[in-house]
């Protein structure tokens, strides 16, 4: 009995760590690239996007897990998309009602969570094959892993493009007599590609060294 409990706890821990590092959706699975590139110009929208994805992933993993025995194989993707679309719409309405400014900044990228591969990947690879507990932990691990990467990427870009992090000034800008000249390019798509590329390289170097 004690062995069983240990084994389950081990599975839970493994699942959680998989999402955070070993199978991190952005660095390892290279999934969800669209929001990763599009909404990481500043930390606030990146965090909002991350939280929305956690919410959708959490709800859709629970629903998919509960109906996994009823799914017909050839209709499963349809069911996943239906579930995901429902929760994304709710998240979108929530942002419009309670965070209108953020909702405008993110624009079409909130509805586009529907086609974010991370969520459908977790529904297919995890929630439709595992129990409720594992599905929930997987959703949290993957969701938090995704959010962390988005925030780090956005932090670097916001610092370079505006000299701020979370809208708090860090560098003194040249405009106000300081030394830092903001790099406008970092807030444009080119900044996203360069930062993401360098980060992926760095992660590969780190994981090769530690392997």
């Amino acid at each position: 009995m004690a062995n069983d409990t240990n084994a389950t706890a081990g599975v839970y821990k493994e699942t959680l760590i998989a999402g955070l590092w070993r199978e991190n959706p952005v660095f390892r699975l290279l999934l969800g690239m669209c929001p990763t590139l599009a909404v990481t110009a500043a930390v606030k929208p990146a965090l909002t996007m991350g939280l929305s994805v956690i919410f959708v992933l959490f709800c859709s993993n629970i629903v998919v897990c509960l109906m996994r025995r009823l799914l017909k194989p050839h209709l499963r993707i349809l069911m996943f998309t239906l579930t995901i679309a429902t929760f994304v719409t709710i998240a979108d309405l929530f942002l419009k009602a309670f965070a209108p400014v953020m909702s405008e900044t993110l624009g079409p990228y909130v509805p586009l969570i529907i086609v974010n591969c991370i969520i459908i990947c977790r529904a297919e690879a995890c929630a439709s094959k595992n129990g409720l507990a594992v599905s929930i932990i997987d959703a949290l691990g993957m969701g938090v892993g995704f959010t962390l990467v988005l925030c780090v990427l956005a932090g670097v870009r916001e610092l370079m493009s505006a000299g701020t992090i979370f809208e708090i000034p860090v560098f003194s800008l040249a405009r106000t007599g300081g030394w830092f000249v903001p790099w406008a390019a970092m807030s444009m798509p080119v900044g996203a590609f360069i930062t993401l590329g360098l980060m992926l390289g760095l992660v590969n170097v780190v994981s090769k060294k530690t392997a």
């Binding site: 109906m67 719409t89 624009g107």
Partner: protein, 205 residues
Amino acid sequence: MSKIKHFIEQSWLLIVASFLFGLLIAVTNAAWSPRIERNKVEKLNHLMRGLLEEAERFEPAGELEITSSKGRKAGSSLFKAVSGSGECVGWVFNAQGPGFADKIELVIAVDKDFEKIAGFDCLASNETPGFGDKIKEQYYRNQFVGAPAGELVLVKAGDSERIDSEIVAISGATVSSEAVVRIINNSMTQIRRQMREKGLIGNGE
């Protein structure tokens, strides 16, 4: 008969789930849509108040239509700005047109006789960060405050402090600066004509 049975067997979950999820969205929407509507109205009011500070409230004054230079028609809502003592202090309307990357939507305010521009603000725009999005900055927008509500001209070099029909373009963002001037010019002539037809302002003769 067996075909129908097969169909139901295969798809009952999809049908049931569609109904349940649809219901869930309907309930959420019903609960939050008044708040969403209020947010939109508040945003517009906030922008309009920034343009016409002496106005206390904005009364809807009808729906007008603006035809773009390419012949496309778009609706425009006209608001009458009313001061605390009940006097008309100006008019506000929205107009849109193509920008550098995406549509630019402006809120434009004019004085009560439609002779001078009281200012404009961006309702929605997606111009290049660091260049085109400077159309939202005060130094560019200030050039329009008090400018004659006639044909504005965009110039590359000039004195941006002087208030006249010449608007000095933002360096590195000629397309965006031009787009704003074009939207304002195009909408103003048409709105003025339609307002005269409705008798909201004198015909200026």
